[in-house]
Structure formats: structure tokens, C-alpha cells
């Protein structure tokens, strides 16, 4: 902690120094916008918010005089004559504005209104080079990060994706600092491979593991970190999302789950612009005593007693388990340049603290982005270099403290003896906690450190106006060092089991991604109305993951120890390598810049393909039609913008690395000598899964740009779906064999609606709603029987969503109460139907009852709603609601508490016949009973963010020498508006927004949650200045 304070104070000093430099640097540099004869000076801003607009084009009508605004939105037009001129101002994504201006007058302020649909916005993802949005036949999700971080500062990068792009859903794993979550775009279709989208930063593919295997996080609670959160939102300009195979064809193998591209900020020509920001706030767990349900035990007289371990702890005067974290962050950037060279240097320190005193993360991010443009504009180089150092202290250690809270009074351990009624479990050394007491965590430390460097170099060459070629090269290096230390305990209580004599696990991994991407495009205009673009390209991707693991058990003395000093040591290593080489060709026809047809073909080879399979080819076709520019719709004020789009395409997902090979492995043999043993049966015919997608939709700006609608219907299939079929162990080879025999389907609709009901000069109201519905189904299992996915009763069954829950469903039971015993039941009846199929509503004996469909863990509904009220262009108030529905979670905290640990009221009183019926099933050997007793519909609508952001008046900003500044107060996760289900059989679930994220759960389909931390409530205050 002392070290952290030092770090913090150093960071503050750095910030102050940076600020001082900024202020000092501005002395004498502050622009003096004094008009001169024959000139017009001014500033271009966004009308709604007053935000300064760089790169706006200002043109004097009837002349060749024009200017482009700098980073402060300023422009100067010179060489003018006459008293007044007509100025036309344009900016991508804004409505052009023509107005009169006085020559030689005072500086003017030009206010532009946004277009509802940004048809001419440049898109760089899924295209060869740059393309305008109008030419694309598929929808592209876009997040304006630079603007969003001001109004609703995210805790993690993942948080920005969920609520901004319909069809994209990040499902948070848990609320501890450092935990990640899975990202799903248009559902999950892969039955045995990853369902995560690819991640690119400035054109290079980067490590995107959603559930990192790290020693800092024990796997059971499913809170593994996600590498996407290494990135610093402050460095990002925008994020583009390709949602499926029809858009991601040119990314080829591995892209069937979609692509997320992160575009970082770059400098613009002009004087240096200094930007600084700092934030602090609080993180806490709301209502901890009420959130965690009380536990119960049966007293020796048979009465059922309540025990709340937290309240009991408070009554003893012991320190509270949960504390208030105080996150703090600060950083800044300097950017600028000339017409030829631009630069941006940025640095950030971010310390996040959770509501466990030992759970925190220090992140240091640095970035240097440089661009060079040759004097003849034919050659351009964009360099991006980012570095990260992250030190994360996990809330988990050996097992989280939540374990001991949830399972307090486990199996009647609080029950006093008849001989001595005062002797209870909570009067003993454990004080009611099962296994671990909060103070035991002083002797543990779990950390996860990451050093990451990502480098991208993009060469763009335009030898002729009709020809462009680019080459992007870059690596992403991630070094991860993680550890879990349980010190040797001095007493004999041994809360950490075998680790009580001391245990340390240490893991190191080194991940390398390398991208080489070449593409060329040639334009040809056979006529004045027709334009063609021919593109070709080739890409090479390299991935390597090397890990080293060491463990030491039993230290000689209490206190910290290392692996070297342990009496028992073990170690292991792994090495994975994968290579992809692909080429593509694409042809695009454009008619009058409003009708577009695109066809493309990509071919890929991959080192993971079987020997008998050399290459795969992915075709694509798309059309885009800007109807609003057709004569029959032109100038219609009620529908000023309308674009129809449709696309069909394929992309792949490569098999698991090495799964095609038949191998033995070296294993220690007799007397410790070397031996070999069967490892992998292999499949020489293995090939990639092929995602095939059709989408159709439209983008419309309506009612004088007051309403924007984006609608898409999609139909995605995964053909040749790879199934990991368990091998019959009697065949001698353990594990699974991967075969291409399945098919899955994901269909759905996505809708985004933006409405601006109030757009007055002093008051603006913007509403945004997104909703996405996805229906997921396994359409073919290749004739194989349903397969179990996890131990938590999840199966892949034809006709149902992947990894659905199939469980017996008790509908009635007669409770039999026996004094001083846990009640049992007779005549337990279940719903009938088809085993591993649908229930039919009939009632049958549970002895022979089928396991019927009870839900699936992947949300089928997701959406968001936000309202932004802008007052006097300076104050913006935001309320954002995040919605997720149609998902089911098996909550072990509840189900196993009921049936396995017998510490709930309902199970001990027998007042819930259905629950007691499940208890009978468990006793009869049906292991799924505890899962059924803890099944939750995990839908919710949560007030994700409320914020107030105030753009400081210039005079206040100038007090610190800044040209502008803002102050934002925001709150996160402060309330639920709706929960689909709050309790199961009388026991509450702490938070429906817990979705397990297990390292090793390749498909990310695990639906069993246990002992996780609830989402933290947060308040944040942020201050930022631009100089």
C-alpha cells in the first residue's frame, strides 16, 4: 500500500507537471482571432453541444477560397473582397450549412447539425483501404469513443461496446476489479470453438482472449480477466464492429464471429494541443448484508434459526468485510504537427479499487502515434505504438471470501449440540464463516501482471489517382506474470486446505501475434456514372502462446514463501503456434455514387487444417442503394436519408490448434523415467467451420434529420460446425476428437432508433434506443446423440440453442416432516415430455421423468435506452439503461445452498414442496437436482449510467490557461429497474449480472455461477482540460 501511495503521488506530480507544461506552452500561443481586412476567421462547432469540430471544410461560394478547421475548430479565409460573402461549411456526418458572413468582421461561429445517417463517414474495417459507409452492403457498428468518454466514462473498454452497438453484447463476468466478460455478436454459433470476435487495433490483429488462464484468478468463480480491457479508452478515437461473416469475409478464417477494430487517436496539423484529464470516485457494494441472503440451520430442538454472518460479524465489532474503494486516474496527451507530420503522445495512470480492500489494479498506458505524408501526397506512413503495464491484485486468491459468506452454516455446522446449546459453529474459531475468515486473506496474495506492447505500421501509397496500395505490419506482444500465494499458517485452522502449509503457484505466459496485411485497389470509371474498384490483397497472421507454470507446496515457516523454498514442487509448460495465409480479390461497381455492388472471394490456408484439407474459400456479395438520392425520393424532407443494404458472405473459424494431428506425448514413466502415452487421436480431414450469413436492412434519417433508424435482419449459419466428440476411452486415446459435422443457426433483428424531440438553441433532448433479438438453434448434430457440455446439466441438442439447460422439472410433491431432520418428500411428480427435449405439460413420476429444456445461458434479447438532455449547450445530463433478457443461469450459490449444503430456510422448514421434491431427486442420485433448484431467469434492466457533464465557460477554463474544460459526475450500477427473477425457492441471487467466464471454457458457454462478486456501484468525478 505504501508503494501504491508513492506511485500515486508520483503520478499526481507528473500530472501537475504536464499541466504546467501545457499552461506554459500556451503562453504566447493562445490564438488571437482578430479579423483583418479581406479575411474571415471563425470557429466551427457542433450546434447541439458546442463541441469544436476539426476537419470541417469552409468554402466561399463562387470562389476557390476555402479552409479546413484545425483541432480547435478554427479557420481563416483570406484574400476576400467585398463586404459579405456566402460561406458553405461541411463536415463528414453533419448537414452542410450555407450562411452569409461579413468580410473583415468579428470572428464568426458556425454551428453544424449532425446528420441522422452518416453516409459519407469513412469506414476502414472490412474494406480494402478506406470506404464510405454509403458503399457498404452490411451494417457497421460504430462507437464514438472520444465523445463517449467525456459523458459516460467507462470503467473498462468492454463497457462501451454493449450499450452502443445493437447486436453486440458484452456479458460481464462479475464485479471484482480485473474481471472480464465474454463478447457476443449476434449470438453464439460455435459448439466447440471460440465464439469471440477478432480484435484489431489500427489494422493489426491482437490477442483477444476473453477468459485468460491466470494464477491470479482461481477458475471456479469464473471471473477471469479479458485482454480487451488492457486497452485505455482515452487513447481511442472510435471502434468499428463487423457483426458477422457477410461483413468480415476479407478477414477470412477466424472471422465468423465478427471483427472489432479499434482506431486510436492521431494528431492533426496545427499547434500542439495539450489535453489532460483526471478522475476519482468511489466503488462500493450496495447493501451487502441484505444482498447476501441469510443462512439457516436447524437447532437441536428442530427449530430453524436464521444466521447472517455479516450481521454477526458486526455484532462482534469486527471490521466490515466490504470496504469502499477509491479509484483514481489521470493522464494527458499532446498532439499536433504540420501538414506533413503529425504526432500524438499520450500517457495515463489508472488505479481502480474494488470493494475488497485487497482488490485493485494499477494500469499505466502510453501511446505514440506518428503520421507522415509525402509532399506530393502519394505516400503516407502511420505509426502506432502502445505500451501497457498492469498490476492487478485479485479479489479471489485461493477462493474468494464470498465462498464463506454464501456457505455460512454449511450442513448445519452452526447447530449447537444438545449437551451444550451454547456451542455453535459461529461461536467457534470460524465465527460462522465456512472455511475462510476475512482476516485469513491477509496471508494470501493473488496477482496478475501484464506487460503489453502493440505496434502498427501502415504504409499507404497512391502512385496514381486511380491506384492505392497499403501494407500494414505489426506485432502484439503480451507478457503475463501471475501468482497465487497462500502463506503457511501459524495455527492449525488450515482454512486453505492443502495450501495451509504454504502454497505458491506462478504462471508466466508470452503471447505473440504478428500481422502482415497487403492490399491494393484500382479505380476505373468507364463512364461518368459508373465507377469500378478492383482490389486484391494478401494477409499473413502468426500466433504463438507459450506458458510456463510452477507450483510449490509446503513452506518451512509461516509467512511468504516462493516456489524454490517449497518442499513439493511441480512445473509444466505449453506451446501453441498457428499460422494463416490468405488472399482475396474484390470488385465493386458504383453507379452515380448511390448504387453499389460488391463481390469478393478470399482463400485461406491454416496450419491447424488437417493434412487432407489444404485451403478454404469464402465468397461475398453485397448491394447498397442510397434511395434518398434517387430522383423519385430526392428533396423529401420527411425522409432526407434512406439507404437500403443487403449482403451475403462467408467467413471461417479455424479448428483448435493441433487438433488435426494424431500424437503421443512424453509423460513420466516407471521409476520416474521417460515414457510416452497416447495424447490426441487427431482428424486429418479437419477443416474450418464456415459461417454463412445473409443480412438485409436499411438506414434512414427521417423528419428533417430528427429521427434516425437503423434496422437489420440477419440469418447466420455455421456450416461444417466442429463438434468435439468425446472419444470412447476404451479406444486408448483420451479426450475428444474434432469433426466437421454440425450446423447451427442464429437469426435475428437489430434496431437502433435515435430521436431528437427537442433541438432548441438552449435545450436539446436526444433519445436513443437499441434492441436486438437473436434466436439461436442447433440445426444439425450430424446424427450424433445430444452431448453434455458441462457438469451443470448443459447439453447440445438438435433444435435448441447451444449449451441449453435440460433438467427434470418437479411440479408437485408431498412433504414429509420428521422432527429434527431435513424434510423429505413422497409422490414427487415431474413434467413429462421428451428426454433432452421439450416438456409437454404432462405430469409423470420423477423417477422416469425426462430432462426437459429449461433455458440457455446466452441472452436472446439485449438493448439499451438513453436520454441526453443538453441545457444551454454546456450541461449535459445522461441516463442510460442497459437491458438483457432471455438468458438462464444456474446459480450454485442458491441451488447447492438449498440441496447440498442445506443452509436455506426453505429446505430446512419443508415449506416449499417443489424444493423438497428436488431434494428427494438428489438423494435418489439425480445430480441435476441442485442445478434445477438454483435456476434463474437472469434478465434485467439496470440503470447503468447517470451522469452530468458541464462544459466549463471559457473564463473558468482560462483560469488554468486552458481553452476548454469539462467536469463530469457519473454514477454506475446504482439501481435495477427490472429483474426477471430475484429468488429461487426463497433464496435471493446477489446479482443477475454475473456470467461465469472460465479459462478453458473455449466456447464461453458455461452457465453455472458460484461465489462470484456482484457488480460494484460506482461514482466518478472527472475533470478534463484542453490547452
Amino acid at each position: 500500500m505504501v508503494q501504491s501511495k508513492d506511485t500515486l503521488s508520483r503520478g499526481y506530480r507528473a500530472w501537475l507537471v504536464a499541466t504546467a507544461i501545457g499552461v506554459g506552452g500556451l503562453t504566447g500561443l493562445t490564438p488571437v482571432l482578430l479579423a483583418q481586412a479581406g479575411t474571415i476567421t471563425g470557429t466551427v462547432v457542433e450546434a447541439k453541444t458546442g463541441r469544436l469540430l476539426a476537419d470541417a471544410r469552409v468554402r466561399v461560394e463562387g470562389t476557390e477560397v476555402r479552409a479546413v478547421t484545425n483541432t480547435r475548430g478554427q479557420f481563416t479565409l483570406s484574400g476576400l473582397s467585398g463586404a459579405t460573402v456566402q460561406l458553405t461549411t461541411g463536415h463528414v456526418g453533419f448537414q452542410p450549412l450555407t450562411q452569409q458572413a461579413a468580410v473583415g468582421g468579428a470572428p464568426i461561429r458556425i454551428e453544424l447539425n449532425q446528420l441522422a445517417v452518416k453516409l459519407d463517414e469513412i469506414v476502414v474495417t472490412g474494406t480494402v483501404g478506406e470506404a464510405t459507409a454509403r458503399s457498404l452492403g452490411n451494417t457497421i457498428g460504430k462507437v464514438d469513443v472520444a465523445n463517449t468518454v467525456v459523458l459516460a466514462p467507462p470503467t473498462k473498454l468492454q463497457d462501451m461496446l454493449s450499450v452502443n452497438v445493437p447486436g453486440v453484447r458484452v456479458v460481464r463476468a462479475a464485479g471484482s476489479v480485473g474481471s472480464g466478460g465474454i463478447t457476443r455478436i449476434r449470438g453464439a454459433g460455435s459448439l466447440s470453438l471460440s465464439n469471440e470476435p477478432l480484435l484489431y487495433i489500427d489494422g493489426v490483429r491482437v490477442y483477444n482472449e476473453a477468459a485468460v488462464r491466470t494464477q491470479g484468478f482461481q477458475n471456479f468463480s469464473g471471473e477471469s480477466p479479458s485482454r480487451i480491457n488492457d486497452l485505455n479508452p482515452e487513447e481511442i478515437e472510435s471502434i468499428e464492429v463487423l457483426k458477422g461473416p457477410s461483413a468480415a469475409t476479407i478477414y477470412g478464417t477466424e472471422a465468423s464471429n465478427g471483427v472489432i477494430q479499434i482506431i486510436t487517436k492521431r494528431g492533426r496539423a496545427g499547434r500542439p494541443v495539450f489535453e489532460t484529464h483526471m478522475a476519482t470516485g468511489a466503488t462500493w457494494l450496495q447493501d451487502p448484508e441484505g444482498r447476501y441472503p441469510s443462512n439457516f440451520y436447524m437447532d437441536h430442538d428442530g427449530s430453524v434459526k436464521e444466521f447472517n454472518v455479516q450481521k454477526f460479524r458486526n455484532s462482534l465489532g469486527d471490521p466490515a468485510i466490504f470496504s469502499t474503494g477509491m479509484p483514481v486516474s489521470f493522464g494527458g496527451s499532446v498532439s499536433g504537427g504540420t501538414d506533413r507530420i503529425t504526432y500524438l503522445f499520450a500517457g495515463d495512470f489508472n488505479r481502480d479499487e474494488g470493494y475488497m480492500s485487497y482488490n485493485s489494479q494499477n494500469k499505466y498506458n502510453a501511446r505514440a502515434n506518428l503520421s507522415y505524408r509525402s509532399t506530393n501526397d502519394k505516400f503516407k506512413v502511420d505509426l502506432s505504438l502502445s505500451a501497457l503495464r498492469s498490476s492487478l491484485k485479485s479479489a479471489q486468491a485461493f477462493q474468494p471470501i464470498t465462498t464463506s459468506i454464501v456457505w455460512a452454516c454449511v450442513n448445519n455446522s452452526c447447530r449447537p449440540t444438545e449437551a451444550n446449546p451454547s456451542t455453535t459453529g459461529f461461536n467457534g474459531p470460524g465465527r460462522g464463516f465456512t472455511f475462510y475468515r476475512p482476516e485469513d486473506y491477509a496471508e494470501t496474495e493473488a496477482f496478475d501482471d501484464v506487460d503489453r506492447t502493440t505496434f502498427s505500421t501502415k504504409f499507404t501509397h497512391r502512385p496514381f489517382p486511380w491506384l492505392q496500395q497499403h501494407l500494414t505490419i505489426g506485432p502484439d506482444f503480451v507478457n503475463n506474470n501471475s501468482s497465487n500465494l497462500d502463506e503457511r499458517h501459524a495455527d492449525s485452522r488450515r482454512p486453505f486446505f492443502s495450501a495451509s502449509n504454504g502454497q505458491k503457484t506462478q504462471g508466466q505466459s508470452r503471447t505473440t501475434y504478428v500481422t502482415v496485411d497487403y492490399g491494393a485497389s484500382a479505380n476505373w470509371a468507364p463512364s461518368s456514372t459508373l465507377n469500378t474498384t478492383t482490389s486484391v490483397g494478401a494477409q499473413y497472421y502468426y500466433k504463438q502462446l507459450a506458458t510456463l507454470y510452477g507450483e510449490g507446496l509446503i513452506f518451512a515457516i509461516p509467512g511468504p514463501g516462493d516456489v524454490n523454498g517449497a518442499a513439493q514442487r511441480s512445473s509444466s509448460e505449453s506451446f501453441l503456434e498457428n499460422k494463416t495465409f490468405g488472399v482475396y480479390v474484390q470488385e465493386q461497381l458504383s453507379w452515380k455514387n448511390r448504387r453499389f455492388f460488391t463481390a469478393a472471394l478470399r482463400g485461406d490456408g491454416n496450419s491447424a487444417f488437417g493434412k487432407s484439407f489444404s485451403a478454404v474459400y469464402y465468397p461475398k456479395f453485397s448491394v447498397s442503394w442510397v434511395l434518398s438520392e434517387e430522383p423519385f425520393l430526392a428533396n423529401k424532407s420527411w425522409i432526407p436519408q434512406l439507404k437500403f443494404r443487403s449482403a451475403w458472405g462467408r467467413a471461417g473459424q479455424q479448428p483448435d490448434v493441433f487438433s488435426a494431428l494424431q500424437t503421443y506425448q512424453a509423460k513420466v514413466g516407471h521409476l520416474g523415467a521417460g515414457g510416452v502415452t497416447p495424447q490426441n487421436l487427431g482428424n486429418s480431414d479437419l477443416k474450418p467451420e464456415v459461417g454463412q450469413e445473409f443480412e438485409i436492412g436499411f438506414d434512414a434519417g427521417l423528419l428533417n434529420q430528427q429521427v434516425a433508424v437503423e434496422f437489420t435482419y440477419y440469418d447466420k449459419k455455421i456450416n461444417d460446425a466442429i463438434l468435439s466428440i468425446p472419444l470412447k476411452p476404451s479406444g486408448g486415446f483420451p479426450g475428444f476428437s474434432f469433426v466437421n459435422i454440425g450446423q447451427t443457426s442464429n437469426k435475428g433483428v437489430e434496431l437502433a432508433l435515435d430521436v431528437t424531440p427537442i433541438a432548441a438553441s438552449k435545450l436539446g433532448l436526444d433519445l436513443r434506443f437499441t434492441i436486438a433479438k437473436n434466436t439461436s438453434k442447433i440445426t444439425d448434430l450430424g446424427g450424433l446423440p445430444p452431448s453434455i457440455v458441462t457438469f451443470a446439466s448443459q447439453y447440445n441438442v438438435e433444435g435448441f440453442a447451444p449449451s441449453s439447460f435440460f433438467l427434470k422439472k418437479v411440479v408437485s410433491a408431498n412433504v414429509v416432516k420428521v422432527p429434527k431432520e431435513v424434510p423429505t418428500a413422497t409422490n414427487v411428480m415431474c413434467e413429462g415430455g421428451t428426454d433432452l427435449g421439450a416438456g409437454d405439460g404432462s405430469v409423470v413420476s420423477c423417477d422416469n421423468a425426462p430432462r426437459i429444456y429449461r433455458g440457455n445461458p446466452t441472452p436472446s434479447w439485449s438493448g439499451s435506452g438513453s436520454a441526453t438532455l443538453t441545457i444551454s449547450k454546456r450541461l449535459r445530463l445522461l441516463a442510460l439503461v442497459d437491458y438483457l433478457g432471455g438468458s438462464t443461469t444456474d446459480v450454485g450459490d442458491v441451488g447447492y445452498g438449498h440441496l447440498f449444503f442445506l443452509n436455506s430456510k426453505s429446505i430446512l422448514t419443508g415449506d416449499d414442496p417443489i424444493l423438497t421434491g428436488y431434494y428427494n431427486l438428489l438423494q435418489a442420485g439425480y445430480g441435476g437436482a441442485a442445478d434445477a433448484a438454483g435456476l434463474f431467469n437472469s434478465g434485467f434492466a439496470r440503470l447503468r449510467t447517470i451522469s452530468a457533464s458541464y462544459e466549463l465557460p471559457g473564463k473558468f477554463a482560462k483560469l488554468v490557461g486552458a481553452s476548454s474544460g469539462s467536469f463530469t459526475v457519473s454514477g454506475e450500477n446504482l439501481a435495477f429497474l427490472w429483474r426477471a427473477q430475484t429468488e429461487a425457492h426463497g433464496t435471493k441471487w446477489i446479482d443477475p449480472e454475473i456470467r461465469p467466464n472460465f479459462a478453458g471454457d473455449v466456447t464461453g458457454s458455461q452457465g453455472y455461477a458460484q461465489e462470484s462478486f456482484a457488480q460494484a456501484a460506482r461514482i466518478r468525478m472527472a475533470l478534463r482540460f484542453t490547452f
Binding site: 454449511v410 450442513n411 489517382p465 479505380n523 506451446f575 490456408g605 516407471h670 521409476l671 523415467a673 442420485g925
Partner: protein, 424 residues
């Protein structure tokens, strides 16, 4: 001044040329990308490399090592499943083993591996891997010559003996068995195969000479054991009688790798997930090596009782012994009708350890005594107790586990795992 047609014409030419060039390059690259896409896979041995006579001894070490790891899991799993241990943990995965809750769907049982850090007592995969490996290596060695492989016949005897034990263990405690992805068969089929493998081991070991003497004796104990299970009493007695006094054969264990850790030591003694059952704590028999560890079990409110038969993670586990052979001989004699001869054997041993002799007036009483002697002499080893519970219909632990209050399940013999039934 250039016109747009100039550009257009050049664009057409370039476009076609570029497309053709790149497609050609791509085709060549894809066709010749075997190097481009080559990857390293350290730690993975392509199957072709295994078929090498120079590796014969490594392959045999692999067979023995695979069996030892399977046997280690088997001893631990059968011991805690039988009445030798009770679960002392609320960890569901572990507790199931000691509460008769291992079902066909239980993956820990079905596909768990040997490594202590990643699996509890995975029985099915390790045992079948060992069995398959023994059969596979025997065939491979059979295709090689004595000139290629030194001591070839002795190596064959070794792998045959361990194949025999794999079949024996599967046949003793599984409800039904399946081999080489085939359908289910009665356990006796496995025992019959075991007898055949042991017989070959004896023959080949005899041909190999003195260096294989221990393997021959090991196979003779195996033959006695299998014939006892098959109720071939005379044969059982014959083979048991061939075992010399003092013979013991251990499955080696070691601390250097968690694949070789003694799992009873790890999960029961060190982790405290299982405690020795109460009846075994008070037998006052020096052969029943148990003690109060004077510390809490996995669940801290339970006292930890452990066996001292194993004194660390590297403690070897007895696979076959003269003591076992004597008990087989005693039981075979009793079943043949020689009750006095049977009682003489067990009382002789009781006298050695300072216990009073037992009396039996009839065959049934003698067998009861022998089973009890087996319980003591062979405690915590070999899966013998579970085998006796099954073959002698000895009552199982029923009701509730007194340490966790959870009810015992209904599992007796090991079910064929669902992954075996539904697998590929």
C-alpha cells in the same frame, strides 16, 4: 494533358495485371505454403515417430508408468468409495467419491487424468489408456526382432503382465466392461482376458530368463487373483502357491511430478477430503495402519484420521504380494472344502502380528474370517476391499454421511461412463 480515358485504359490494364499477378502469387503461395504454414509442436510426438524399435524400452516404461498412474487413481477411488473412507468435504467433486455418488455422467470419474492438480481419481481413461498402451506396445514389439531390441521377450512379458492387471481391475469392480470402442460385456470377460495376458506373461517371462522372475511372480499373483474372482478355486490355489514368501511388487510413486503423487496421501492425508472410516480406527490390528492426525479435515469441524500405510506423496502402493497370495490360497482352500487349511493360513499370519487365532466351524464362517483378514491385510491398497464388497455382497455404507449430513448414493460397482456409451 491527360484524359480520364488515359487513366481508364491504364487502370484497366493495371487492374487486370495486378489481379492476375496476385492471384498467381496466391496460388503459388497456397500451393507451396507447406513451409509458410509449418508450425512447431514441442511435447507432441507424431504417431509415426513412436514406431521405432530404438524406443522399445521407453515404450515399455510408458506402459508401466501409465498403469501405475491408473492404479494409483484406482486405489484411491476404490478405497474412498468403499467403506474404508468417508468424505469430509463439502467440495462436491471430491465428496461424491466418498458418498457413493459416482455416476455414469461423472466426468471426474470418466475422463479424469492422473495428475493430482487436475483430477481427483479419474478411473476410466487412465485404466483404458494403460490397457490400450500395453496391447499396442506388445504388438509393436512383436513386429521387431531380437536384433533390433535387446531383451525383447522380457519387455513383452512385462507389458503382458501389466495388461493383465488392467483387465483384472476393470473386471473386478466395473458393472460391465467395454474394450476398443466395442459394446458392453460382462466383467468376467475382462477377467478372462486378464488370465490370458498373465499366462502369456508367465510364458514369455520364463523364456526371458532370470531378469523377468519378478514379472513371472507378479503374473502368478495375478493369475491367482483372477481365478479367485472367476471362482476357479483350484487354479487360484495352484498359482497362489507358486508365490515365494516375502514377495512384494509395488507400483512406484514419486514426488517429482504430480502425475506420480500417491493420491490417497494427497487427497485424504494431505488435503483431508476423506477421513478413515470409524470402524477401521478401533481395530487395534497392527496391519491396519491408521492414526488421528490431530488436525482438522477439509471441513474444519471434522477430525482428520489418516492411514500411515503411506508416508508421503512418493510412497509406493503395493500391487501384489505373498500376503495377498496367502489370503487367496486360504480362500481357495476354504471354497474347495479345506477349512482347517484355510484357517491355518490366516491364523499363522495373525500369530505373526500378535493377534489371537480365529476359529471357524464351517466354510461360510471361514470365508467371513478370510474376508475380514483381507480387509485388514490389504487395507488401502489394490481395490481389494471394493472387490470384496461387490463379490461377497457386504453391506454398503447407507443413510447419511455423518460428517456432512448428505445422503449416500446408490453406486456399487463402477458404471460404464456415458462418454464410453455415447462417445466416438
Amino acid at each position: 494533358m491527360r484524359t480520364s480515358h488515359d487513366f481508364a485504359g491504364r487502370a484497366t490494364v493495371f487492374s487486370r495485371a495486378a489481379t492476375g499477378l496476385v492471384v498467381t502469387i496466391a496460388a503459388v503461395a497456397l500451393g507451396a505454403c507447406s513451409n509458410l504454414l509449418d508450425v512447431k509442436y514441442p511435447g507432441r510426438i507424431p504417431i509415426e515417430q513412436v514406431d521405432n524399435p530404438a524406443l522399445a524400452s521407453v515404450l515399455v516404461d510408458g506402459v508401466v508408468g501409465a498403469f501405475e498412474c491408473a492404479y494409483n487413481n484406482y486405489v484411491g477411488g476404490t478405497s474412498v468409495h468403499s467403506d474404508e473412507y468417508q468424505s469430509a468435504s463439502d467440495n462436491g467433486l471430491l465428496a461424491n467419491w466418498g458418498e457413493r455418488n459416482i455416476t455414469a455422467e461423472n466426468d471426474d470419474y470418466a475422463v479424469g487424468q492422473c495428475e493430482a492438480n487436475t483430477s481427483d481419481f479419474g478411473l476410466h481413461v487412465p485404466m483404458h489408456t494403460a490397457r490400450y498402451q500395453a496391447e499396442d506396445v506388445f504388438k509393436r514389439i512383436g513386429t521387431w526382432t531380437d536384433a533390433q531390441v535387446a531383451g525383447r521377450v522380457g519387455l513383452q512379458a512385462t507389458v503382458r503382465a501389466f495388461a493383465g492387471y488392467a483387465y483384472t481391475l476393470l473386471g473386478e469392480t466395473y458393472c460391465s466392461v467395454a474394450f476398443d470402442r466395442g459394446g458392453p460385456q460382462p466383467p468376467a470377460a475382462s477377467l478372462t482376458l486378464a488370465a490370458a495376458r498373465f499366462a502369456e506373461a508367465v510364458t514369455l517371462g520364463g523364456q526371458a530368463g532370470a531378469g523377468s522372475a519378478d514379472i513371472v511372480t507378479l503374473a502368478n499373483v495375478g493369475l491367482a487373483r483372477v481365478n479367485l474372482n472367476l471362482k476357479n478355486w483350484a487354479a487360484a490355489a495352484t498359482f497362489a502357491a507358486k508365490v515365494p514368501a516375502g514377495f512384494e511388487y509395488f507400483a512406484d510413486r514419486g514426488i517429482e511430478n504430480d502425475r506420480r503423487w500417491n493420491k490417497i496421501q494427497y487427497f485424504a492425508t494431505d488435503l483431508g477430503a476423506f477421513v478413515v472410516s470409524e470402524p477401521l480406527r478401533t481395530m487395534n490390528d497392527p496391519r491396519v495402519l491408521v492414526k488421528d492426525a490431530k488436525k482438522p479435515a477439509f471441513n474444519p469441524y471434522i477430525d482428520l484420521w489418516v492411514t500411515t500405510k503411506y508416508n508421503g506423496l512418493g510412497a509406493p502402493i503395493r500391487l501384489a504380494s505373498y500376503r495377498e497370495a496367502r489370503l487367496i490360497l486360504a480362500e481357495a482352500n476354504a471354497m474347495i472344502g479345506d477349512v482347517p487349511g484355510a484357517m491355518a493360513i490366516i491364523n499363522g499370519r495373525r500369530g505373526e502380528v500378535g493377534l489371537t487365532p480365529l476359529a471357524a466351524g464351517n466354510q461360510a464362517a471361514a470365508v467371513d474370517h478370510i474376508i475380514e483378514e483381507r480387509r485388514r491385510e490389504l487395507s488401502f491398497e489394490g481395490g481389494h476391499r471394493l472387490n470384496d464388497l461387490i463379490r461377497k455382497n457386504i453391506p454398503w455404507k447407507v443413510g447419511r454421511n455423518p460428517f456432512t449430513s448428505r445422503p449416500y448414493g446408490a453406486t456399487t460397482c463402477w458404471p460404464i461412463p456415458a462418454k464410453e456409451t455415447n462417445g466416438f
